[in-house]
């Protein structure tokens, strides 16, 4: 029965994707992207991936929309239609789709316990996690410990992307000098004149940040962890920036603090790895961090999740500020 729900949700997903591509109004496309993200999260949840659904919820619901709208405000809202080569590419796409669908007939059906993917390392992870690491959430255990190198790499990709955005957007503008009177800047005001959203939003911000911390530190027992928590806390502070104006939010969390967060979180992760070497283990081997290997693993995961959370939060906020502070041409 739940499989039928999944089929329905997937059909809606396909329709939404087609609608996004068909519309020529970019604002509408961004709105439909919001719906697309909600559908993806529901699909992930139906397919038993609670952690992934939580990540999609934390990122897709607020931050994606805010970033795309920020970029639209700086560029254009309508696209010009180009018809050259449309039929050729339509043909290519249809043929490739048919080939892909033909290829799926060799795939194991959904939920087949004998599928090759379930026979390799996954059973080992599921069996050994309670003994070696002793935390209930196997996803967090793999993310933090078994595949800690991967996560370190991903963290540095986020770090690099953040540095790239700052390089591109905080330099001087090509043609004009920035206007002197920042009072004209529309983003500086925020929504200060809308009383009701302001009151309700202010009430919500502490709860969002608190919930972010809950997700951060409860990530070993339930769905959650550093990636989700960083995104949720960043969303809370972005809400503050929307309500009070971007300048006010920078006063609360200045740029230097954001940069410190981006660097410090990644350094914290790396430092845990180095500490492992210093205490006689391998890089990112947490077993040596405490007397008891299991305790050491738990401590290591706690610290690296904190590092991930700090970096993700700082990076997303820096990116948001880079877009919001840019004056449109």
């Amino acid at each position: 029965m739940v499989i039928l729900f999944a089929v329905f949700l997937l059909t809606l997903l396909v329709l939404t994707a087609v609608a996004i591509v068909r519309t020529e109004n970019l604002f509408v496309a961004v709105m439909l992207t919001g719906i697309f993200s909600l559908l993806m999260a529901a699909n992930f949840f139906v397919l038993d991936a609670a952690d992934v659904a939580l990540t999609e919820a934390a990122i897709g619901a607020g931050i994606t929309t805010v970033l795309f709208l920020g970029a639209l405000a700086l560029t254009a809202e309508h696209e010009k239609s180009v018809s050259a080569g449309r039929w050729l590419s339509m043909g290519v796409v249809v043929v490739t789709t048919l080939i892909l669908v033909y290829a799926t007939f060799d795939k194991p059906r959904l939920g087949d316990p004998e599928a090759p993917v379930h026979l390799h390392v996954a059973p080992w992870y599921l069996e050994e996690t309670p003994e070696l690491i002793g935390i209930p959430n196997v996803v967090t255990a793999i993310l933090g410990s078994f595949r800690g190198y991967d996560t370190l790499g991903e963290l540095f990709v986020i770090f690099t992307a953040c540095i790239g955005v700052l390089f591109l957007l905080s330099g001087p503008r090509g043609q004009h000098l920035p206007p002197d009177d920042m009072a004209l800047s529309s983003t500086a005001h925020g929504l200060r004149h809308h009383l009701i959203p302001k009151v309700v939003g202010r009430l919500l911000i502490p709860f969002i940040v608190l919930f972010g911390f809950y997700v951060q530190f409860h990530g070993e027992y339930g769905p959650g962890g550093g990636f989700q928590a960083g995104a949720i806390v960043a969303a809370g502070i972005i809400l503050y920036a929307l309500l009070e104006g971007e300048a006010q939010a920078l006063k609360a969390v200045p740029r230097s603090v954001l940069m410190g967060m981006v660097i410090g979180g990644a350094m914290l992760y790396g430092a845990v790895g180095i500490a492992g070497i210093a205490l006689g283990g391998n890089f990112l081997d947490y077993s040596v961090l405490a007397d008891n290997p299991v305790k050491g693993q738990q401590f290591g995961i706690l610290v690296i999740e904190l590092g991930v959370g700090i970096t993700v939060c700082g990076a997303l906020l820096s990116i948001f500020h880079a877009f919001a502070a840019r004056e449109p041409v």
Binding site: I20, D48, V138, L168, R173
Partner: protein, 119 residues
């Protein structure tokens, strides 16, 4: 039920190719980026489809419950990080588009090419 056993993969194929269509035919750079993120989401869907096990539940051990079947945690770890990396790289793409708009005054691919050609 057997009939729908491969439905997820078909949806994956269609969504993937919808995103691909936007990337190759649309001239607008932001639309290309939206198409790219649709393409990316389709890949996420493929990975998460593979983690499902019949009668399984999310891989979080519940206290006092034994004999649980868990879905495969490994694709979940990969996709969980990929989602956050995806939004950062999309932001990087958007930043490049904003800079292109500032120096060319347009974000349409053929107009940019014309400007490059005649200058």
């Amino acid at each position: 039920m057997e009939l729908f056993g491969l439905y997820n993969y078909w949806a994956f194929a269609v969504v993937l190719m919808t995103g691909f269509y936007a990337v190759i035919t649309k001239g607008n750079l932001i639309k290309k980026l939206i198409g790219l993120s649709i393409f990316q989401s389709a890949v996420f869907l493929l990975y998460i489809t593979m983690d499902k096990v019949d009668g399984g539940t999310a891989p979080i051990v519940q206290k006092g419950v034994t004999d649980q079947v868990f879905s495969n945690p490994l694709p979940q770890v990969l996709i969980l990080t990929a989602i956050v990396v995806g939004i950062s790289t999309t932001a990087l793409g958007l930043a490049i588009v904003v800079r292109i708009k500032e120096s060319y005054g347009t974000i349409e691919e053929h107009e940019i090419q014309n400007l490059d050609h005649y200058s």
